[in-house]
Symmetry: C2
Subunit: 364 residues, 2 copies
């Protein structure tokens, strides 16, 4: 007896629980998945048996039998940048305490890679997909539309989501920071960036539109736009085409050379803004009196710099978190949630753009 085959690993199965509780296996299965289908008394007996045997359901068997999993596929374009670390943190926080399993894929900002990963993930019949951005190619979009599971796009916004979009408008954020700089009294406002993706381009568009409206647009104040696929940063500890603070210092020098009247710059991200601040420190350019600096994302360091650095807060953690919560509601059968959720942004006005001296010293 008990000549256990080598095919099992000795853990209790649903049949063991059923035997111990004196019920059928299928009843145990129901009690576990949807207790409301089982009578109070049996439910209790089954729960006891589960606890005594320390039974844990085999997820592979469940997935095989029911053609569905608890996997949520999450696609991000980069793991190098802190932005997406924050998004993933929100995702994991949102999944905490649920049965959802997170599976992360890195598209490396490549549409082809994105398409490949979508296909691969969908083959696993995931419970849902969360994907960064709204600029999937037509084939990717078609796959997602016929995926038969909730699909949530994040970190951008559109009025034509695949299914649901949770994010904010980069274009509006660009407009807002431009208005802030103009209000602060700057007149020769530049834009500094390294490699640009579609969201960065949205911010730039917002900035330039606003500057044009104010009659302050000057192309010499914009760093050359680099798009296309970034140099892949995989398989190396360092970064390549993404924004680096060192690169930002060089780019600032270039801009100042091309247009010495420049008196403020909106940096495509916070890291570059820090680099610019340090370049100003080195050159003895006074911030904010001679020169205004604004970043994007509002990482912690911005508030702690001296002078403190203005930025635009982007809801990165919130995007991930809200996406998973929305996913959980959908998977619980609640279809009533909105399909377009604008989480907004927030201009954080700090010392580095306080030319007018409006802030108290405690705020600096």
């Amino acid at each position: 007896m008990n000549l256990r085959s080598r095919r099992t690993d000795g853990r209790p199965t649903i049949a063991d629980v059923a035997r111990r509780a004196g019920v059928g296996a299928i009843t145990v299965s129901r009690a576990l998945r949807d207790p409301s289908q089982v009578s109070e008394a049996l439910r209790r007996t089954i729960d006891d048996a589960v606890r005594e045997l320390n039974y844990v359901p085999n997820l592979n068997a469940r997935a095989l039998a029911s053609i569905r999993t608890d996997i949520v596929g999450v696609l991000v374009p980069s793991l190098t940048q802190n932005i997406f670390s924050d998004v993933l943190r929100g995702v994991y926080d949102g999944a905490d305490g649920s049965s959802l399993q997170i599976q992360v894929g890195n598209t490396h900002y490549s549409e082809d890679e994105e398409e490949r990963l979508i296909g691969q993930m969908l083959r696993q019949k995931p419970a849902g997909m969360i994907i960064s951005g709204t600029d999937q190619n037509p084939r990717s979009r078609a796959m997602l539309e016929s995926a038969g599971c909730p699909v949530i796009q994040i970190m951008d916004i559109t009025d034509d989501p695949i299914d649901t979009v949770i994010g904010f408008s980069h274009y509006e954020a660009g407009r807002a920071i431009a208005r802030h700089l103009i209000d602060a009294g700057y007149r020769h406002i530049g834009f500094l960036s390294g490699w640009m993706n579609s969201r960065s381009l949205g911010r730039l568009a917002g900035l330039t539109d606003t500057l044009k409206e104010a009659g302050m647009y000057n192309p010499k104040l914009i760093t050359p736009i680099v798009t296309g696929e970034p140099v892949h940063e995989r398989k190396s500890p360092g970064k390549t085409s993404f924004a680096t603070p060192v690169g930002a210092r060089k780019l600032l020098s270039n801009l100042l050379e091309a247009e010495p009247r420049m008196d403020a710059v909106f940096c495509n991200n916070d890291v570059m803004a820090l680099g610019v601040l340090f370049e100003c420190l080195k050159r003895g350019i006074r911030v904010p009196e001679d020169f205004g600096i604004a970043g994007f994302n509002d990482f912690d360091i911005m508030a702690a710099a001296h002078p403190s650095l203005s930025s635009v807060y982007s809801p990165r953690w919130e995007s991930g978190y809200e996406a998973v919560l929305a996913m959980r509601r959908r998977l619980d059968g609640d279809e009533s949630g909105p399909r377009i959720v604008d989480l907004g942004y927030r201009v954080m006005a700090r010392g580095s753009t306080d030319r007018a001296g409006r802030l108290t010293s405690a705020e600096l």
Copy 2:
């Protein structure tokens, strides 16, 4: 015909491939998993059939039938800190192109949570486990020792690994930075930290031992040590008990008040070092002349600061990457790899500790 049951999703199965190739299903299975067991001719026919049908193996069924998966469980203590984002990036880069699936768990620096997650992951019969740190509790350790799969500890080092350890000595890193500060001419060297984990404590021990040997140890120069479980940072966009640059500015003020002679500080991490630099800028303390600053980890921003900030480079990406490569070798049956891998650290001497003026201006 073709009254497809609702139980399948219409994708081709191994049986479809077998039928098309005119062979048995088991032969297809073998051809896919270990082509050397199948004759050249059949292999080709099967490959063709696979391609024509666009067949993709069902991983759940494979896992169920063979009681093993391609999942690698990765346990990190935090997703809030960039350190572990870098580790995860290395992990994903290392797994790129293999069939391994990464599953991340966040222990929130809690031994109990770690134990729970280990149990949960082992129940999935993972192909291997990667776990941060070497300070698992006895029950966790016992579970991992009898897990029957490769277990790789990372980001620290020990001569008594559970299985394999890939990391570096925090104690030696602490000694090294202490020597660097002494060499640079500082005499009242402090240590600044927020919440401390066992690895931070190792660095501090290295620092204080070295200072004692040099007769320069002064407890008033050490911020109060905060250990135990950190305030959980889950379910919120912000951080709590972890190092923040704002907190660092306050802590520096406290230390300077307690011991005005302090002339250098080793910060538990780079973020705090940045905060300290900004506090010095605000107070008009000259760096490095009046005060030396060193951080830990060597994030990009350190080299770009002005003055550039000294730090200790820690192999975060490398830890994750090498761990996965070692895992892959083990899973391929190569047991010859070393069980203890010291990836080392590197003191990055920069402007913020260059009291002696040894660096050229280009290096600053």
